[in-house]
């Protein structure tokens, strides 16, 4: 890039551009900013002060309470244990649904058979079903397999709900890869899984990142499926958050509510912050196409 000498108007335009971007960023940050500063105030300060006024001192008590001793329902152990429950649900569900999506996408792109396109279409329609519709029949299915109200059951539900999306992501990505690559491998006599492992998977990093981020966010943030299908001791953090916010002992402790909400949102926020760059890259690499 050659740095052209900037004219005054050009400079003003740049300045305007940055001003707009900053203003928009301010608006986007506002809700979470409000939550953050509220979580650092004490109850009295919340009552008397302005929503956007800064806390008079940094006070992390609410965070400590939310993590370890706030009451949700009749147990007062904070949301820490539920936080780990969520990981126990999210990690297997993300891995399985991503793997399944990758294999499906691989078949639908490189090993087409009669009716495979139709299947893909049917699968896509499945992504759009309102979750409330499947609540009861799914409960019955899980009971049939003896998985009702257990973590494996909930993982299975997330896999079922998510596979449509993951398959779509991978299929749209793979269809953008050069077909010759796979043809050559087939001609060399390489088998189905060999090609997948050695040829296709190494090229898949961008779309794996996109899929994992998408699935992680969806499953972590889920409330409805979590509350209906989890067991009493294995509820995910969103359910605990709901219980905590709705449990009050005279006077709402908004600072604790906000701290708990932020803790519950932390993993997905971190994922977006850390991997956000790769997310856009992955989208660029092909998820958008088709």
């Amino acid at each position: 890039m050659v740095e052209a000498p900037m004219t005054v108007t050009r400079r003003a335009a740049r300045l305007g551009l940055y001003a707009i971007l900053a203003a928009v960023a301010f608006i986007y940050l506002m809700p979470v900013w409000v939550m953050l500063i509220t979580s650092l105030k004490d109850v009295e300060e919340i009552r008397s002060g302005n929503l956007l006024s800064l806390p008079s001192s940094l006070n992390f008590d609410a965070w400590v309470t939310a993590w370890g001793s706030a009451c949700a329902g009749s147990s007062c152990e904070g949301i820490s244990s539920y936080f780990w429950n969520s990981f126990q649900i999210v990690i297997p569900a993300v891995i399985i649904s991503t793997l399944l999506g990758a294999l499906n996408g691989y078949v639908l792109s490189f090993w087409r058979f009669r009716g495979s396109e139709l299947m893909f279409g049917l699968l896509l329609v499945g992504c759009f079903i309102p979750l409330q519709v499947i609540l009861l029949p799914m409960a019955r299915t899980l009971a049939f397999f003896g998985l009702a109200n257990s973590t494996p059951g909930l993982v299975l539900v997330h896999v079922i709900v998510g596979t449509g999306f993951t398959t779509m992501f991978f299929r749209n990505f793979y269809i953008g890869l050069p077909q010759e690559l796979i043809k050559a491998a087939k001609l060399d006599g390489a088998g189905f899984f060999f090609i997948f492992r050695r040829v296709v998977l190494p090229l898949s990093t961008p779309i794996i990142v996109v899929t994992v981020i998408w699935q992680f966010t969806q499953i972590w943030n889920d409330f409805l499926l979590g509350i209906v299908y989890s067991g009493a001791e294995t509820q995910p953090v969103t359910v605990a958050l709901n219980n905590l916010v709705n449990t009050s002992f005279g006077g709402k402790q908004y600072n604790v509510d906000m701290a708990a909400a932020l803790i519950a949102a932390l993993p997905t926020l971190i994922v977006y912050m850390v991997a956000g760059k790769y997310f856009v890259k992955g989208l660029t690499a092909g998820a958008v196409k088709g």
């Binding site: 551009l17 928009v24 809700p31 979470v32 058979f113 329609v125 079922i160 077909q179 932020l262 958008v288």
Partner: protein, 313 residues
């Protein structure tokens, strides 16, 4: 690449192989289908099976739990005589239209602005994108506060001296649906921006350079070359956004609870309320079927063009 020398591969010689190897061969040929089998099963049982189940349910008089006594299309009749359902449908139309239009507009504008070789682009992009990471279960209360006249924006502006400022949509039955739009656009516009940036980065640089050499101004280049080439992105966004719109549930539950009155109810909330809290499962199922019909109306044309038209790479 195109050498045919290797065609004498395994499948041709299979006749000469032992039975065991033949079995393996047959297995290998069926492998792709076998791999898809679990998904097959899932689709048929858990998607279409459940849709069928729900349809049957919508033909019954089921109350607090499914009871298989069929009454024909009575529930559908009741549904379309129900004021609240009509309000929620109307809301869905207003909400989806504004939500999709604004997300596309804002997402696109932000993408174009961020595409101007901005310093710290990644950081700013992160700020626009993060709302997608959080559910309304988390941000619901903060939004309620911000839009509440005596706590949020209106009070802030008054405190800062702008006393004529008024923002009371949250408590106004005629305006409340627009607060849903605001919060939903906040959540999804960053994602649309990311898709557009991805699209912009994919535009052929040579074409832009050529246009520049021809003396075209940047706005013209955007209008004539870049944006038209983003058509597929528009389309993907449209489908993703309409799916978010029709599934919107948490948003209403967290922000307005459907109120004031039921002025901000959406179909998903209607369905949930009737099927699960009001003991009108048949009616709830009927409303779900109508929602599904709406989804199919959007999706089928898309899929048709998708699967018929483009097999490109």
């Amino acid at each position: 690449m195109n050498q045919q020398t290797n065609t004498a591969g395994r499948s041709i010689n299979s006749a000469a192989l032992s039975p065991l190897a033949r079995l393996q061969q047959a297995l290998a040929d069926q492998l792709p289908k076998l791999v898809m089998a679990p998904t097959f099963l899932i689709i048929f049982v858990c998607i279409y099976g459940y849709i069928g189940w729900t349809f049957l349910l919508s033909l019954t008089k089921s109350r607090i739990l499914p009871v298989w006594k069929f009454v024909g299309f009575e529930q559908y009749e009741k549904l379309f005589m129900n004021d609240r359902w009509m309000v929620s449908l109307e809301n869905l139309v207003i909400f989806s239209f504004l939500f999709i239009a604004l997300c596309l507009l804002i997402g696109m504008v932000l993408a174009v602005l961020l595409d101007q070789k901005i310093r710290n682009e990644g950081f700013i992009r992160g700020i626009y994108l993060y709302p997608m990471a959080i559910s309304f279960i988390v941000t619901g209360t903060a939004w309620k506060w911000l839009m509440n006249p005596s706590l949020g924006l209106e009070k802030m502006m008054h405190d800062w001296g702008w006393t004529s400022f008024s923002f009371d949509w949250l408590v106004d039955p005629d305006m409340v649906v627009y607060t849903l739009v605001i919060a939903a656009v906040w959540q999804s516009s960053g994602f649309v921006m990311a898709l557009f940036i991805a699209g912009l980065r994919g535009v052929d640089d040579e074409m832009i350079k050529a246009a520049k050499l021809d003396g075209a101004s940047m706005p013209t280049i955007y209008r004539r070359i870049i944006l038209p080439s983003l058509k597929p992105v528009f389309f993907s966004c449209f489908v993703i956004l309409s799916h978010i719109a029709i599934k919107s549930f948490d948003l209403v539950a967290a922000l307005t609870g459907g109120g004031p009155g039921y002025a901000s109810d959406l179909p998903a909330n209607f369905m949930y309320a009737h099927a699960f809290t009001r003991g009108q499962m048949g009616l709830g199922a009927a409303s779900a079927m109508v929602m599904l019909g709406g989804v199919l109306a959007i999706l089928v044309p898309y899929l048709y063009s998708e699967l018929r038209g483009k097999k490109h790479g």
